[in-house]
Subunit: 451 residues, 2 copies
């Protein structure tokens, strides 16, 4: 209920803005835009067709343009950046944290990147350059340089005095990082310990040895670590244990959302269609290979039907019933595959327990098969006024649902064994298998018994 | 790469444990279990068939049993709790935070719940009872009572002294909450401000007016708020602004994961099959209604084929080619629907921009249609050595892919308008529509031209 209203609010604001853009109602646009936070504006830009998007962009105040841009998805970000010149891009980055500057630097051309880097403060430039050395989806590519590091041989009182002098502490700071003389990471001082301990104690007396994340760690592994250990922030180091930066939980939440979306898209053979309003030619280029792959697999089912051409010519009712066999097998297989793919993704299936799972799924297929064999068998007998046809359809349905359940479990397991992502490929292979086997059983039985 | 190895480690540990259970190798089981954190043990329990799961449970030391239980999914949690008596359940809860006690209290019978509540400390009991008054998936059902609240008329020095006296601060504490005399929520004191400000200042001078979340707020809305505002923790109040509890980012990460999994399961008509090893009868009961629904929709396609019975009898090649038409339409429609469902879920589609999207998708359908009409038309002509059949197949493919793209966009949009979750229902309706229309176009054209 409340979720719907939240989303409705957003779509309403979006509709009002689009109307205002079309009516050139500048004051109104200005009024709405200025009432929104950067993350909301970013969402609205993503929901806007390209032309209106570039018009809206001009209404966003300079101070928050950078912050808005950081929150848009890669494709929208690139399309907006393409409209800007070097100077404008540089101005965007002025108020951003180093991880956000890195994010923008990853989306522009090498020439633009050099221009921006050469204009940055030395410290910020060094941090951004370090981060750019790592791929976008690693801890190094995600980290920011907005952390506070201290030495272990000072007292807590000195640390507190230092913090008061700095006057502000970066967001999501629950730990200060401890480094030695040459910047090697040594551990953390939790802020809560800093507050609750005796001020005369040395940092070394209360510090904790918390492991850092290596900069080349994959982002999804970083996310799993945060989830498992309930972390707020963690230090990032290079292979020599040199402290490079920090990753915070808000970045991790974004990683989780992106990972999920990538999986959803992958199951429909979509790679990275980030921009809802990408030009049709661009979208077609992305989507057509998957259709081609699907065509190749669909031909198998056609070949099986072709084998039984003579049978179908005699009993056209078979052709009428074929889609029901295919569809029921597809659904039963998909139900099993969905559960197995989820279990594989969370690392819950090994060789040992997958045998137990196969027995279970065969059982489910058997039970479902008996239920739907009886129902569809009877219905077919009545529909075509033909008891033998009904019997054959029922038997085919029973075998089909058992085979589909087993295929739904086996195909993701095999793909996983072959190190192919089941979320990507299982659906396509599964429907080919259930269609082909379903038609073969049904038409084969009919040929043996009825012809 | 690294993600795979992370998951492999887990499945390896899991396999070793299962072997050890079967071989009754007690010392080895004890050794592995004691090397794992509660969250890891919970994952292993979920990955273990029921019988071995209950054996493994006995090896988990009493001190962490509660913590392990809190991290298992609802169905596994319930099955483990069913094996325990009142006293054992109570002992589990002794070291848990109030939100975790609430979580367990939600999974047991009313009688067990009363027994546990009556044995809890008065303060903890009050907190748990308050939380139990709200549904599980609201801010109130999720909140914990482990927060620190202070008054605004004291100095920061007094607050610091208080914290040192308490000696420890709950995890994820980035703010202290400020209440008035009667417990009404007034705002926050960020820990970072507490550290960096002059100790002589009053709390009222540095406090911030940050809004709290109402206890009846839906959990997915809570998650969106945390994501949008990059929060670490937030206060939960009742309708009278009385401070009740606190929600922290680690709970929100769990909410996001669960939401995603629920959507994935829903698209296969699976409700909440949490336990991978649920008994087949239980699983069948859950899955069979979706098969029934699918049967009803599949009948439409059969009826359409039935209309063209005479045509198929004359040209059996049509029956052979039917699965290809159905499969290509289904895939093209699914690609569009996946994108539209994602856009709807994130509130990016309104009436205005959905028109733009429909034009775009029609364009993609047209381009894909032309490509695959030519390829499949030529292939069919060659396969059946029949130019007219090939031409008709090509034309049917073109129309079919345009219609499928439009249906892939329109069906989720309409479902959303009707307040039905598109992630749940769109797939089933879409394939019915693409099958039915695909067969109708193909067989209709063939009847008009070839017969």
């Amino acid at each position: 209920m409340s979720k719907v209203s939240l989303i409705n609010d957003k779509t309403k604001i979006c509709e009002k803005l689009l109307t205002a853009v079309n009516e050139q109602n500048n004051t109104y646009i200005q009024k709405i835009i200025s009432s929104l936070v950067p993350e909301e504006i970013a969402e609205i830009l993503e929901a806007t067709p390209p032309q209106e998007r570039h018009e809206l962009w001009l209404y966003i105040s300079r101070e928050i343009q950078g912050d808005v841009l950081v929150h848009t998805n890669d494709e929208v970000k690139t399309s907006l950046l393409e409209q800007l010149n070097n100077k404008e891009i540089f101005e965007l980055t002025e108020k951003l944290a180093t991880d956000d500057i890195t994010d923008i630097a990853q989306a522009i051309t090498e020439k633009e990147r050099q221009h921006i880097l050469s204009n940055l403060d030395t410290n910020i430039r060094a941090a951004v350059e370090t981060s750019l050395r790592y791929p976008e989806d690693t801890a190094g590519g995600l980290m920011s340089a907005d952390f506070i590091s201290i030495r272990s041989n000072v007292s807590l009182e000195v640390v507190l005095r230092l913090l008061r002098k700095i006057g502000s502490i970066p967001d999501s700071t629950n730990h200060l990082f401890i480094t030695n003389r040459v910047g090697l990471y040594q551990g953390i001082l939790p802020i809560t310990k800093l507050i609750t301990s005796d001020e005369e104690l040395l940092v070394s007396a209360v510090m904790e040895q918390k492991p850092a994340i290596q900069a080349n760690t994959d982002s999804s592994q970083v996310a799993h670590l945060f989830e498992k250990k309930d972390l707020i922030s963690v230090a990032v180091t290079d292979e020599n244990n040199l402290l490079l930066g920090r990753i915070t939980i808000d970045d991790v939440v974004d990683i989780i959302r992106e990972e999920v979306e990538r999986n959803q898209m992958a199951s429909a053979g979509l790679n990275e269609e980030d921009d809802l309003f990408a030009p049709p030619v661009k979208s077609t280029k992305r989507r057509t290979p998957w259709l081609g792959l699907n065509l190749l697999t669909a031909i198998f089912a056609s070949i099986v039907i072709g084998v039984f051409e003579a049978t179908i010519q005699q009993i056209v009712a078979l052709a009428i019933l074929m889609p029901i066999i295919a569809s029921m097998g597809g659904i039963a297989g998909t139900q099993t595959a969905t559960i197995v793919i989820r279990a594989l993704a969370t690392g819950k299936l090994s060789f040992q327990n997958s045998q137990h799972l196969l027995f279970k799924e065969a059982g489910v297929g058997m039970l479902n098969g008996i239920i739907w064999a009886i129902i569809t068998g009877l219905a077919t007998s009545l529909w075509f006024n033909n008891g033998s046809l009904g019997t054959i359809f029922g038997i085919a349905m029973l075998i089909n649902l058992i085979v589909a359940s087993l295929a739904g479990a086996l195909i993701p397991l095999m793909l996983n064994k072959l190190k192919i992502d089941p979320a990507l490929a299982a659906g396509l292979i599964l429907t080919t298998v259930t269609d082909t086997i379903g038609f073969f059983i049904f038409l084969g039985l009919a040929t043996m018994i009825l012809v």
